[in-house]
Amino acid sequence: MKITVINGTEKHGVTYRLKETFLEPFKGKAEITEFYLPKDGPGFCTGCTTCFRNGESRCKDAECIQKIEKSMLESDLLVFTSPSYVMHLTGAMKALLDHFGYRWMPHRPLKEMFGKRAVIITQALGAGETSTAKDIKDSLSWWGISYIKICKFKLMSEISWDKIDEKKRRQMTNAMSKMARKFLSVDYNKKAGTSLITKAKFYAVRMLQTRLGKENPEYTDYKYWKANGWLGSARPWKAA
């Protein structure tokens, strides 16, 4: 199997440790590709809207984005990690997710995403782990992923791994190992199911695209939906 890991920071801190614990049992069994942001990422999205209008290949960061997208496409499992910065995901992770705006369902979602599985790993000092996880989950679910598991932790006063008390460390690593076992036991030949909420979003967008297509048949997103057959009876979660 293949795993793509996207890290919202380059720092090897608590989030990194948690991620390593999760990946431990996969080593030797899976091909793991890791990206560390901002180093391996695209910098900021400039809001030029070229991806929406003229296609993603004309984005100034196309090379970087397509490399990450290809890796995600080929993977069975996606792992997103981000510490909580001021109660939300890191700026670096936000900058990457901004670039994937064109893969949101109202634009041009990838049908492969509908069957994928993902896990989000986050921790916060004091408060904010829930909203950080949600920031990332929002994007993933709008890409079409239904099977998303969240590992979130709240720390108090200490952020360096060695100074966190023993009991708390054990509690966190146990939770990560448990989650890893859960993902190890999955049969990745079978695609993950698509939830009712995702389907509802899909149908709402389908209506929108049908309307937009009537106004402008040359609209990039409309043409994409039409080419995929989604305006007819094809559905991204069904095998063709």
């Binding site: 801190g13 001021v86 995901l89 890191t90 670096a92 901004d98 994937f100 006063s157």
Partner: protein, 231 residues
Amino acid sequence: MVITVINGQNHKGSTYNIGKILVDNLGENEVHEFFLPRDLNHFCTGCCSCIKDESLCPFFDEKKRIMDMVEKSDILIFTTPTYCMRTSAPMKTFIDLTFTYWMSHKPRASMFTKKAVVISTAAGAGANSAVKDVTNALFYWGVPYVKGYGKAIQATGWDQVKPELREKINKDMASLAKKLKTSNARAGIKTRFMFSMMRMMQNKGMGAGEEERKYWQDMGWLGNARPWKAA
């Protein structure tokens, strides 16, 4: 009055233009403008050295240029486009880099008497959640008077915005400007409550270290002084 405008994007699109209409409506003022990422093109590395000493931040000089102006201002205007139903990454990064200004760390007394407006536009949905990302940070900075304005403009450029909608935006900005000029910025119960919670934390040594506690001590906030009261 002194006004600082912080734009969450380099280009002058719809969001920028709405901010500009508001500034024009506020009359003759000293206006300072910043564009992100142009004026602060860095991601927070999470090194946490600012907790000890803010000047240790690798991007301290660039950040200080903006934040000194923010502290001097009477009105702050933030504009951010909506990306993926949230604030833009450059704006998020700016908020990351200024986190020691939060009440939980070293809030600045000057913030507690300021007024702020956060403006965002989206082609479709999400403008209000983008606004909320920023208003939330401003609340924790201690800014007592924050107005949000999120608008779905159904266009990707300012020149494509329908004339009726522009008319509506013009009207909204005129009335918002009037409100800003006449209203008082007083710390409300929510701000005071949050401040007292943070004070308790510092008092019990649950803050992020001795440096922070000393800051609160020097400001007199561990005693009877409060940032919203004149000394």
